[in-house]
């Protein structure tokens, strides 16, 4: 499979009280064509910042300090903001948690769906309109011609998210980034949208970076999973391995903290403590203050990532030792 996205040693920093603090501390991962990679981790671990770094949509007090982002063979970090602007939508599209933030409340659905097609694909209005209707049908929107005349606030959350998906898909980007696209939806509507995304995968020629904090959603949609903790990648592997046999104590902790609807007598195990603040320097493994297996070495040295089995990478001193 062809690599669509290669992120290597990505460091993104934020300026807080006149000092630079790394929020991403050297993250590397790849996404292939027609592959869905899920990124998981607690709130504040850097999932959205990763997405915004790739899209060049970081807030003004943040920037990519080092590392590289290669999209479809092209290095992005050396391009001007203007050049990156032109790639947005056409090469890489983004779906947000709340589609209202991406849709313009004052413009009709029809205008917003055809605008990109006219601008990026240089289609005339009539062809763009026909294509828009086709994409609305693809994402399961009933009465597509009627919908084109409506404004975003007239639609339910689930419908708005379908329209957002149609909008992003219609430009046929190589990469689609979806940041918690179903988190604001009710479970039955979430299920509809996840099933839709899975069905559309065959139709799309894109790689998908799907951000979520829900490991149930991961099991539904991911091919591979990247687990972030406090700006670092701690584990990466095929979905079966990450959900079925996670190796990193943090990933294991996440799985045991969520009550499972199928388990008969589930015992909840809280991960003690909280995610460190970005300004907090921690010696050794950044997870050690919360880790039940921490040893002296963990408190002194940052763990080196190893490939535990092909494709399954872990950054934990303990895993290396038990595998030997």
């Amino acid at each position: 499979m062809e690599k669509i996205l290669e992120v290597k040693d990505l460091v993104t920093t934020f300026r807080i009280a006149k000092r630079e603090y790394p929020v991403l501390r050297g993250i590397s991962f790849d996404i292939h064509r027609r592959e869905t990679v899920c990124m998981v981790g607690e709130s504040g671990c850097g999932k959205s910042v990763t997405a915004l770094s790739i899209m060049d949509l970081l807030p003004v007090n943040a920037h990519v300090a080092s590392g590289s982002i290669v999209l479809d063979g092209q290095e992005l970090t050396t391009l001007s903001h203007r050049a990156r602007n032109a790639l947005r939508g056409e090469k890489a599209g983004m779906i947000f948690q709340e589609p209202m933030t991406a849709l313009n409340p004052l413009l009709t659905i029809g205008y917003q769906l055809t605008e990109g097609l006219r601008y990026h694909k240089r289609l005339d209005s009539k062809t763009a309109r026909e294509l828009a209707v086709q994409y609305l049908k693809k994402v399961g929107v009933a009465n597509p011609v009627e919908r084109l005349k409506q404004f975003p606030f007239q639609l339910s959350g689930g419908l708005r998210q379908r329209i957002m998906i149609a909008l992003v898909m219609s430009l046929q980007p190589s990469l689609i980034i979806a940041d918690e696209p179903t988190t604001a939806l009710d479970v039955t509507i979430q299920k509809q949208v996840l099933a839709l995304l899975n069905a559309l995968k065959k139709d799309m020629d894109a790689g998908i970076l799907f951000i979520t904090h829900d490991l149930g959603v991961v099991a539904e949609i991911a091919d591979r999973v990247v687990v972030l903790y406090s700006g670092m990648k701690v584990e990466e592997g095929p979905v079966e391995a990450i959900i079925g046999a996670p190796r990193h104590p943090y990933t294991q902790g996440l799985l045991h903290a969520v009550p499972n609807v199928d388990a008969e007598d589930f015992v909840i195990q809280a991960i003690p403590g909280t995610l460190p603040h970005v300004t907090e320097e921690i010696r050794g493994c950044r997870f050690h203050p919360r880790c039940p297996y921490a040893t002296e070495r963990c408190r002194q040295e940052t763990p080196v990532e190893i490939e535990f089995v092909p494709g399954h990478r872990v950054a934990c001193w303990n895993v290396k030792e038990s595998a030997r």
Binding site: E42, S43, S156, G158, L159, D186, V187, T188, I189, Q190, K191, Q192, L194, A195, N198, H213, D214, L215, G216, V217, V218, A219, E220, V239, E240, I243, G244, G253, L254, L255, A257, V258, P259, N260, V261, D262, F266, I268, Q269, A270, I271, P272, T274, L275
Partner: protein, 333 residues
């Protein structure tokens, strides 16, 4: 729990919100249910089904349109019992009488940040509750506040902190400390763990569990998360469009859900188990209809996979199918 005491009894509780141009939101339709002292009572359903409205109407934060809320937790001087020996109908109380009962009945909201005053320290936020409701001396108030901080898993040092210096989980602990300060009997938890990260959510659930055990607190636990409800609650009420679909002990509901909506809801929960995605799944189609113009007959009939001719004509009654297991569906008539 050998002998169970009812602490609260809802009788045909109805709440309509009149909105513009004569339109009315049918938020709650004749809810009747009894809640036992010391139980963790769960309420689930999709957004807009009336969970929050139910919690707030019970606490009389919203005046009910009709129906009764009989509280058996204490008697009030000058208020004649509504029911039996010591029941008080909350809907009939005057504001100053309800104010006395507020000490017994508390609420914790979803957004811990929004419910705290950013200019007030954690300590004074909690102390305020004592100031308003008791005549404790300042030194006693402070000592009680410090004890409470430790009880909810915070440190004494947090007394001097401002909300912006706390994490979401810590803010929620402050919200809980405030709610339990006056030793209430009944606490509404409205999506109180929903906005928290999984690891913090687990910490707060363990705290709530410990408080329930220790003080025999009754929880009215509102959530949209079925996993949390299964783990946490003794009994569960499933709502759809302002109506009760099903009510059963948690164990029974998750082992043998009967109402087609409960079954669909359970089906839709994403499981952390990798399965064959090519396999055809049961997916509930459509969306929840508007509460301004709810469908006739069974409120779920527009989406129900087991719909019959009768369903759009006649509203099913809530019936006890087996002991303690109530269902409102024509299939089980």
């Amino acid at each position: 729990m050998s002998e169970r005491h009812v602490i609260l009894e809802l009788k045909k509780l109805k709440k309509y919100f009149p909105i513009k141009r004569g339109l009315v939101v049918h938020a709650l339709e004749d809810i009747s249910v009894s809640i036992y002292e010391g139980e963790k009572f769960g309420v689930v359903g999709e957004s807009g089904c009336g969970k929050s409205t139910l919690g707030r109407t019970i606490l009389q934060l919203y005046p009910p349109t009709s129906g009764a809320c009989i509280y058996y937790g204490r008697s009030l001087e000058g208020v004649s019992p509504a029911c039996g020996e010591n029941g008080i109908d909350l809907t009939k109380l005057r504001p100053q009488e309800m104010r006395v009962l507020r000490r017994d009945m508390q609420i914790v909201f979803q957004d811990p940040a929004a419910s705290l005053d950013p200019r007030q320290t954690v300590g004074s936020t909690i102390e305020e509750v004592f100031k308003i409701n008791t005549d404790y001396a300042p030194s006693v108030r402070k000592e009680k506040t410090l004890v409470l901080l430790e009880k909810v898993g915070l440190k004494r040092e947090h007394f001097e902190y401002y909300p912006h210096q706390l994490s979401g989980g810590q803010k929620q602990r402050v919200g809980i400390a405030r709610a339990i300060a006056l030793d209430p009997k009944f606490v509404v938890l409205d999506e109180s763990v929903s906005a928290l990260d999984v690891s913090i959510q687990a910490q707060i659930l363990l705290l709530l569990e410990a408080l329930n055990r220790e003080k025999n607190l009754t929880y009215f636990f509102i959530t949209h998360d079925l996993g949390v409800v299964k783990y946490f609650c003794d009994r569960v009420l499933v709502m759809y469009l302002g109506n009760v679909c099903e009510l059963a002990p948690s164990k029974v509901l998750f082992r043998s859900p009967l109402h087609p909506y409960t079954v669909s809801l359970l089906d839709a929960v994403p499981r952390p188990v990798v399965h064959d995605r090519a396999q055809k799944e049961r997916i509930l189609e459509g969306e929840v209809p508007s509460a301004i113009a709810p469908p006739p007959g069974c409120p779920f009939h527009t989406r129900c996979p087991r719909r019959m001719l009768l369903c759009s004509k006649e509203k099913p009654e809530l019936r006890e199918i087996e002991e303690g297991h109530f269902v409102a569906c024509h299939v089980y008539a």
